[in-house]
């Protein structure tokens, strides 16, 4: 290997992208060639310098991205998993190769389309918006059998300690379609906050729900657990990143009730960018009470 080739390989060498054999040849060359050794050191410094151009997203930005995405997805129509997609999934494992898959798949899709059309004509008498295809199978005669899922309203009555009721409520607390329902559910769950799965659902709502009304209800329900470390962790996150001042005000109230040493740094970090007078005053008062400075601003 000559010097020119060796130097061309330096970047790939430092990124670990050379073949083992090339790597060994390069190392041998560099060992016996002081100018290339110096050049490799320069290349290494370049790599370290380039690290200074790295950018790490701030936690607040990531949180706000996630919240916005959650809201947009909640507002978006559910993605469709079409009949054609399902058919493709069904037929793929039955066929030996991609080459055979194509013509057979086309025939299968045609057959399914024909039969599905006939079936659909019948089910259209019912309300199609309440139906979806849950499964299907190709019959030997060339037809297709669809398993339809029909949505029907039904009333379920029971106590909160009934497991079925509880599971339905936990699902409703995260139902992206209806913030009003989520708020009422969270309110209903507040007496069960002592149970792990309910507490988790409340924390989840507080941290992630796009609707401030729901987050406030969750905060209310979490009041009795303000000393619990997991709850405090989420409350701290809320205090730092929630964009609703009402939610942050409730969070600071709960956090300073039980002033812990770890909170000092959080308050000091938050104060320079917090504009809400109530939160500022509460934080300053809490810091004074433990003889900590508001310091950093």
């Amino acid at each position: 290997m000559n010097c020119d080739t060796a130097r061309r390989h330096f970047p790939l060498y430092l990124y670990g992208e050379l073949e083992l054999e090339q790597e060994e040849t390069l190392e041998q060359h560099v060992e016996g060639c002081p100018p290339c050794r110096r050049e490799l050191e320069r290349e290494r410094s370049l790599h370290q310098f380039l690290d200074s151009g790295d950018w790490e997203p701030a936690r607040e930005l990531l949180q706000s991205c996630r919240r916005e995405l959650g809201a947009r997805i909640a507002a978006a129509p559910p993605p469709k998993y079409s009949l054609a997609d399902r058919l493709r999934d069904v037929f793929r494992p039955l066929l030996p190769s991609r080459a055979l898959l194509r013509p057979a798949g086309v025939l299968a899709l045609l057959a399914a389309g024909f039969f599905a059309g006939r079936v659909w004509d019948q089910v259209r008498i019912a309300d199609p918006s309440t139906l979806r295809v849950r499964d299907l199978a190709a019959s030997p005669s060339g037809g297709v059998q669809l398993v339809l899922e029909e949505v029907r309203e039904r009333t379920l009555t029971g106590n909160l300690d009934d497991d079925r009721i509880r599971q339905m409520l936990l699902a409703a607390a995260a139902d992206p379609a209806d913030p009003g329902l989520r708020a009422r559910t969270v309110e209903l769950l507040k007496d069960l906050g002592g149970e792990a799965e309910v507490r988790l659902a409340l924390l989840r709502a507080l941290e992630r729900d796009s609707n401030p009304g729901v987050r406030l209800k969750a905060l209310e329900a979490l009041k009795p657990f303000a000393s619990d470390p997991e709850t405090r962790k989420v409350l701290t996150g809320v205090l730092l990143v929630d964009d609703n001042p009402g939610v942050r005000m409730q969070a600071i109230d709960l956090l300073v009730q039980d002033m812990q040493i770890e909170l000092i740094g959080v308050l000091q970090e938050m104060l320079p960018r917090e504009n809400n007078p109530y939160i500022r005053q509460k934080s300053l008062q809490a810091l004074r009470e433990v003889n900590a400075s508001a310091g950093v601003f």
Binding site: P11, L12, R66, L69, V234
Partner: protein, 208 residues
């Protein structure tokens, strides 16, 4: 207690989801399981945001690319056929969006690298501060100058060179995976990386 980076965000996810194979997660999300989709987002979203931020050097644009990427994933996940890994598929989406953006930006009037705020002139993209910026003012000044220089050199790369460089240097992706995501061969990605590092070596020569 000051919570660690991303800690609050991940606490619940880690507590509520049992470890699942990624392919299972994708299949569950394809069937409409929202929490599986959310888990997929949380595995990759920091990387996506970081790539977009590094490439576009603007928080608002990185935010927009993040939203568009995951909305496209959400809308098109049913068409994902496991012909490649989910990560490659996702990175194809984000890199295409970023490349489009960078190409459009090339023909637009360049945005200034700084903005005026109440605290004075600041970078458009706030970079994480050094461990102890007050510790050694001279060093801090030098690293600030260096960072600005690196950023200005990055601006001079072609969109494709820049993308390949960002993915290799900051995301730690292998050239083969980069080639798959960008829709090119490993060899072409290698050449791109080579050209990018060469340009940077020339431009940063006086720092070395």
């Amino acid at each position: 207690m000051a919570i660690g980076k991303g800690e609050a965000a991940t606490t619940l996810a880690s507590a509520s989801t049992a470890p699942l194979d990624e392919a299972d997660l994708v299949r569950a999300a394809q069937r409409g399981d929202q929490s599986a989709f959310e888990s997929l987002v949380r595995v990759y979203d920091q990387g996506v945001l970081k790539l977009a931020g590094n490439l576009l050097r603007n928080e608002q644009d990185a935010f927009d690319i993040y939203q568009e990427t995951f909305l496209r994933v959400y809308r098109n996940l049913h068409s994902f056929r496991f012909d490649c890994s989910f990560r490659t598929w996702l990175y194809r989406i984000v890199t295409n969006l970023c490349l489009d953006y960078l190409r459009r930006k090339k023909v637009r009037k360049e945005e200034p690298a700084t903005r005026t705020t109440a605290e004075g002139e600041m970078d458009r993209l706030s970079v994480v501060p050094a461990e102890n910026p007050a510790g050694d003012p001279q060093r801090s000044l030098l690293s600030d100058q260096l960072r600005r220089r690196v950023e200005s050199v990055l601006e001079q790369l072609t969109p494709r060179e820049r993308l390949v460089f960002e993915m290799r240097h900051f995301q730690g992706m292998r050239l083969r995976a980069i080639g798959e995501a960008v829709g090119t061969s490993e060899e072409a990605a290698k050449n791109c990386l080579f050209r990018a590092t060469q340009k940077m070596r020339v431009a940063l020569g006086d720092f070395l």
